[in-house]
Amino acid sequence: MDEKELLPHLFRTEYRKLVSVLCYLFGIEHIEIAEDIVSDTFLSASESWSIKGTPDNPTAWLYTVAKNKTKNHLKRHNLFEQKLSPDLKYTAEKFEELEIDLSAKNINDSQLAMIFTVCNPCISNEAQISLALNLLCGFSAQEIADAFLTNKELVYKRIQRAKEKLKEDKVQIEQPKLAAINARLDTVLTTLYLLFSEGYYSTSHHTVLRRDLCAEAMRLTYLLVENQYTNKPSVNALLSLMCFHSSRFDARLQNGVMILYDDQDERLWNVELIEKGIYYLNQASQGRQLTKFHLEAGIAYWHTHKEDTKEKWENILQLYNHLLILEYSPIAALNRTYALAKSNGKEEAIKEAEKLNLIDNPFYYSLLGNLYTGLDNRKASAFYRTALTHTRSDAEQVILKKFIEQLLH
């Protein structure tokens, strides 16, 4: 990795660790101090390394500098005596003895504590995701704005408000207690799930950013699997789901163009990730809990079989049936109807599709277009054209026009 790439890469991997450890040490009230110290550390690195060259162990350099800056800051502002000491979880007598623990274990503990802090129900879902991306993944407001297709100011305000709220409510950054794990794990998983979805399905053209989003979501989920208290079946199911989906990352995007499932070259599917997905799905099957992540992981598993078989589509249909009975969503309803066509035939699926009544959803019309293809091509074409008027996404328009074109021949 050359010098130009090294620092952004380290920023991505180390910023969040240092911020988590310092927040964990200082408490949520001093979150900005932690961010300032870490930003300052990276600024020093870029200045120093461009003059003196990159140190042998850049990560260790960052850790040492961050530690020194923390101690200096505390000394300068006398914060240790006046403000921090009551909150400090470490019982150092003076700040010289203050231990800033950057061991792998403490980094993991700190990050885990931060995940549960960020996913506090006192702040909104959007804010949780933005804050998670910002604090735990080191994404800038601009990058988050790009991923969410919104503007930087809005994201910035959202993050600030969320931080204020956490401070107001005096939320403690601490290792989640067993009761809190059970109570908040669902929220944590939803945040991680949305984080992954943003990366996987985002209409943002920023491919690298999207890939990073997915990787970050998986890394944080893996952290939960690694911890004995949070290693629950639902967490394994979520990680399994993420593995299966990301196994198709290369196959579904070529030169910035989306490749539909049917047209994907399965040789581009990542076998290692599929195997990992199967492993975590097996882990998830222990216990009696059946969450939507289990069902979605099951559906994703069957999609790793490229060939259309009766068994495959029957399984997918039943998993979608379960999923919808557990929790309705329009997208699940549409996908389920597609599976119904594959399993029980198009006529039956058309009858059910017409009852879905999702008249504002462009996918609804493209589903009908797909179902009528081969049965009544004029109707199919009309539905695709209706879908075209309902979508604003360029990528979707290109695909719809291709479908309409194909119907003419």
């Binding site: 009975i325 699940a332 309803a333 029980n344 009852k355 493209s366 979707e396």
Partner: protein, 153 residues
């Protein structure tokens, strides 16, 4: 997940209407006319007399129509409550306080299950009931409007 994967990359209340005042009935009729979503109880009954224990294959084949039917309802977002499975055996207390253990050869029909769905009116609820697999087994579906609490006054 927030995109279509294939096409794009990218309350159990039972009130006997006969015992209600005329006023309540009027309110119910108004409510049905207003096209608000109502809840309807669907009870499936069939005769279990003479049933033989099904083979695992038969059992599997008999489950699919139920799963698909429930999936159809759920896909329209018309399930009003989470599904509840009920024990197939059960007990019946008769008028002379004799207790019968199920399955019941003595009584003609028993409840195969029940669900609560969302529908605008009886017509729509009945349409849903017409898809119920119990009909294929010679059973029937009883459809009942759930009378909301605020209509009892």
């Amino acid at each position: 997940m927030s995109s279509s994967r294939y096409l794009f990359p990218v309350k159990m209340i039972q009130i006997n209407l006969a015992s209600c005042t005329g006023d309540l009935e009027k309110k119910i009729i108004v409510r049905l006319k207003e096209k608000v979503m109502n809840e309807f109880l669907l009870i499936f009954r069939r005769s279990f007399a003479g049933d033989e224990t099904p083979s695992p294959e038969q059992l599997q084949a008999s489950i699919k129509p139920w799963q698909d039917w429930l999936g159809n309802i759920a896909a329209q977002d018309k399930l009003a409550r989470p599904l509840q499975r009920w024990d197939a055996k059960g007990k019946v207390v008769t008028s002379n306080k004799t207790v019968i253990n199920g399955p019941y050869a003595e009584i003609k029909e028993s409840i195969g299950g029940l669900i609560i769905v969302k529908a605008q009116d009886y017509e729509e609820a009945v349409e849903i009931a017409k898809g119920c697999p119990v009909l294929q087994m010679g059973g029937n579906v009883e459809v009942r409007l759930a009378v909301p609490a605020d209509y009892q006054g």
